[in-house]
């Protein structure tokens, strides 16, 4: 099997696989991360509907911490997967396969569902909530795109006074840009 076959799958099926190893593995991992995030979403939803959620503060706190930990790991996994894709793309540009838009879309919708679940009504601890939101935004804004550097050049941020244009929160602290932009660049209310 040649170098190209590892990436693109233009070869005789290998060990009963219909696709090339790298094409297959990146699709499978992306799907698995997506399903894991969906399962975590279900867990949050199910626990927040339980009666104990409203009464047991100690349980809430530990549960919120555990969810924060899980989502942080999901974020790191996504980051590693994208890093792997980036390196392969840079090293073997001719053999590289195209980004799977359907999978990215599925991941984005899972992240969006998670963001809507992690609200002030469900997650009481502000620190955990902010950390989770930060990780979730980071997945779609930085760690999902392989061609991040090329896009950055296209949409270069103009230099100027940052503090005047950056929105501030109630405490007067400057919000990070991802908070102002929302998930897909749409300004949040």
């Amino acid at each position: 099997m040649g170098m190209r076959a590892i990436f693109t799958g233009n070869h005789v099926p290998h060990r009963n696989q219909s696709r090339a190893p790298f094409s297959e593995s990146s699709v499978q991992t992306q799907l698995a991360i997506c399903w894991l995030l969906q399962s975590i979403n279900r867990m949050i939803k199910a626990v927040s509907e339980r009666e104990t959620w409203k009464t047991n503060q100690a349980f809430n706190r530990i549960f919120e911490y555990q969810i924060m930990d899980m989502i942080s790991k999901v974020c790191k996994m996504q980051k590693i997967l994208t890093e792997k894709k980036k390196r392969l793309k840079n090293t073997y540009p001719d053999e590289w396969m195209k980004q799977n838009e359907d999978l990215d879309g599925q991941m984005r919708s899972s992240v969006e569902a998670a963001i809507s679940l992690i609200s002030a009504q469900t997650f009481k601890n502000e620190m955990y909530r902010e950390q989770i939101q930060c990780d979730l935004y980071s997945i779609v804004e930085n760690n999902l795109r392989v061609d991040l550097d090329e896009k950055k050049e296209e949409t270069e941020i103009p230099q100027g006074p940052i503090q005047k244009t950056t929105p501030q929160n109630k405490k007067g602290k400057i919000n990070p840009p991802w908070l102002a932009k929302g998930v897909f660049g749409v300004k949040r209310k």
Partner: protein
Amino acid sequence: MNSQIPEGIQHSSLKRTIVDLLESIALEETAVSSILRAEAGKIKAFVGKNLEFPSNPSTKEILLFNETVNKMMDSLLMTEWLLLRKLDAIIQIDIHKMEQELSFPFVEKDSLWEDSVIIEESSFNIESGLEKNDFTEKETLKFDDGDEGDFYW
């Protein structure tokens, strides 16, 4: 216990070896993705189709369950990280350079002779400060192709 090289196809090409290493990463990643999928399925089964927790767990049991999921995710994350490091190491192998080095004739008589002369001369002038006349013994060697060389002791 005798250790033996496992039977199989012997790969001689460097490029082929790199392809095999890349393939090994891909296959391991597929295995990791299967475990991740199983973990997602486990959570789904625990929560239930209608989010009713079919096993009727206590709050403590829910926390314990989350702990196991977290531990497994931690291990898988480490595996992913190691695979990335392995990929880094493979990518750094310069195929063309290594192939050139491997195909380059190891020792050529003429180049060996020229190199040795250069080393001798530089050591005379820079490092030791000695001249050729400072050496007491001289030996002239003849090579098979008729070439000659003087050696000083």
